[in-house]
């Protein structure tokens, strides 16, 4: 992967001047390439990675395994894209194995997530069955640990 993208994946707020120094490029070139990635749809957005367990949120997250029937034209894409359009669905992936689509669904209460599954998701044409698991605690998201790392224990000066 492009070094530039790696740096942005670690810290999307890094200034273009600093990225330019790290890569040994002119800052204008960094700005141009980022704009190109944004235009081309490689960079699809920038988000903060939150430790939501620290916020007293009225929110539950369910991980839902969905079995679907692929359609004659469009295969899995038609049904998977239709499911993805619901705002409750935060992430959706086509999977290999015993089910087809994996969803991360958020809602304010367990009851509302359950209602989403039973009333809207299960009733879609092409959805054969669902299996819902509720998430209890987050340890790591997007490669970032949610608990604090131990402090730097190195000696302050060493040979």
């Amino acid at each position: 992967m492009d070094e530039l993208l790696r740096i942005l994946q670690t810290n999307a707020l890094e200034s273009h001047e600093n990225i330019a120094r790290m890569l040994g490029l002119p800052a204008a070139e960094v700005t141009r390439r980022i704009a190109e990635y944004e235009r081309g749809g490689v960079i699809r957005g920038y988000q903060a990675i939150l430790n939501e367990d620290r916020l007293e949120l009225d929110k539950v997250t369910a991980v839902i395994e969905v079995k679907v029937t692929p359609q004659r034209e469009g295969g899995f894409n038609t049904i998977a894209e239709r499911i993805s359009r619901f705002p409750e669905v935060r992430s959706a992936y086509l999977m290999s194995g015993t089910y087809d689509v994996l969803l991360f669904v958020e809602g304010p209460t367990l009851r509302e997530v359950a209602a989403f599954v039973s009333e809207r998701l299960s009733t879609l044409e092409g959805v054969i069955s669902t299996s819902t698991h509720f998430m209890l605690k987050t340890y790591k998201r997007y490669g970032v640990l949610m608990h604090s790392e131990s402090p730097d224990e190195r000696l302050t000066v060493s040979p």
Binding site: N18, R21, M22, R154, T156, V157, S158, P159
Partner: protein
């Protein structure tokens, strides 16, 4: 009792006459201060890769807590021989040409003690790692320093060695990529040095602990050059490339006769390297490329960042090519390196190591380690720039 002359007089003259490490003096001052950003740390900020730590715990559970063979686990020596062959281009027999040690420090001590008779001269280049001179003296050798210069990118040349060689010269010590300068020697440059070693029939001890950490071109080991394997002891370890400093695990590769001689000392003084650390090393070698590649990328970004920041603030610095150190000149501020470092510490709470800790010719320079998080480096550069602006 402290400072009692009668006890001091009973300490061996060799030990008594060796001065305290300059880095320790500086460390003592830094530890009295709070909230210091340290670019003075000569070890990686990365954690040891998790698979290595996890497998060390597993080894402990399984009871790998006993003495190992003096040379080290044979399985580990086999893995080391494969790794050195592939990465550094020299083939060793794991049965009798590889010795696992407690860090490169022990391996270096063993090599010097195994080779030197009292009065034998050892050529080593300065600025260099803080222990070299003392380790030669502890082995009753005569340290003969060869000064490398910023103008040459702190590389060694044949002419420099020729000027310092005498009939008593027995050993040439090398350390590239270099601590503290970040210098690297190209293959062509090493060929000159190798030819000189062959002509003068010198033995070579090469400390290649930073061998994986080069940023512009792959590292060449002198041991891979023609006619060098039979006169070279190759030293390496896990501290830097795998961020395993506390495991204290190094190794030496060399002709069987020399390894046997080193093993004689090792078996009586150390017996064997830690069994758990050896298991950890075995796991580290199981998949080295991915761990190292990621760290090298990150160090390269930091190197680029620091080099650009120095250029912006007008701080003269030869381009650091390897290890994780930059070695800028502070001579134009008219202060000795130590005073510069102390003033920077007092005024801006940034710790660098004065170049003099690495030999007298380090005067006028400071070592800046970039083995620390990018946020720290960024802040340190802001402070350094402010400090320089006031001079």
């Amino acid at each position: 009792m402290n400072g009692s002359p009668s006890l001091r007089n009973r300490i061996s003259a060799t030990v008594r006459d060796i001065p305290r490490s300059g880095i320790r003096d500086f460390f003592d001052i830094v530890t009295t201060m709070k909230d210091v950003i340290s670019l003075g740390i000569g070890e990686p900020d990365f954690d040891t890769p998790w698979h290595v730590r996890e497998s060390t715990v597993f080894a402990l559970e399984r009871g790998a807590t006993h003495y190992t063979s003096n040379l080290g686990y044979l399985e580990l020596r086999r893995a080391l021989a494969r790794y050195v062959g592939k990465t550094f281009g020299a083939d060793y027999n794991p049965e009798d040409e590889v010795l696992v040690t407690v860090g490169v420090s022990e391996a270096l001590d063993l090599a010097l003690r195994a080779l030197l008779n009292p009065g034998d001269e050892v050529l080593y280049h300065e600025p260099c790692y803080v222990s070299y001179r003392a380790t030669i003296l502890f082995a009753y050798g005569v340290p003969v320093e060869v000064e490398t210069r910023a103008a040459d990118g702190f590389r060694l040349t044949r002419a420099m060695l020729e000027a310092r060689t005498t009939p008593r010269t027995k050993v040439l010590m090398l350390n590239f990529p270099n601590n503290p300068t970040g210098a690297v020697m190209s293959r062509a440059e090493l060929e000159d040095i190798a030819a000189f070693a062959r002509e003068r029939d010198l033995l070579v001890i090469t400390d290649e602990i930073y061998g994986e950490l080069t940023y512009d071109a792959p590292h060449t080991s002198i041991v891979s050059l023609p006619g060098m394997r039979e006169r070279t002891i190759f030293l390496h370890g896990f501290s830097k490339a795998w961020a395993m400093t506390g495991f204290r695990l190094g190794y030496a590769c060399g002709p069987a006769e020399l390894i046997e001689a080193m093993m004689k000392i090792h078996q009586y003084t150390m017996l064997c390297a830690s069994s758990l650390s050896q298991k950890a090393a075995l796991e580290a070698l199981a998949r080295p490329e991915s761990d190292i590649a990621e760290m090298v990328n990150e160090y390269r970004r930091r190197r680029n960042f620091i080099a650009a920041a120095f250029a912006d603030m007008g701080l003269e610095c030869h381009r650091p090519l390897g290890a994780f150190y930059a070695f800028p000149s502070v001579a134009r501020f008219g202060l000795p390196a130590k005073e510069f470092a102390l003033a920077l510490l007092r005024e801006e709470k940034v710790a660098l190591v004065p170049g003099t800790a690495f030999g007298a010719c380090g005067e006028g320079f400071v070592r800046c380690a970039y083995a620390t998080r990018m946020e720290n480096i960024k802040e340190a550069m802001v402070r350094l720039r402010r400090f320089i602006g006031r001079r």
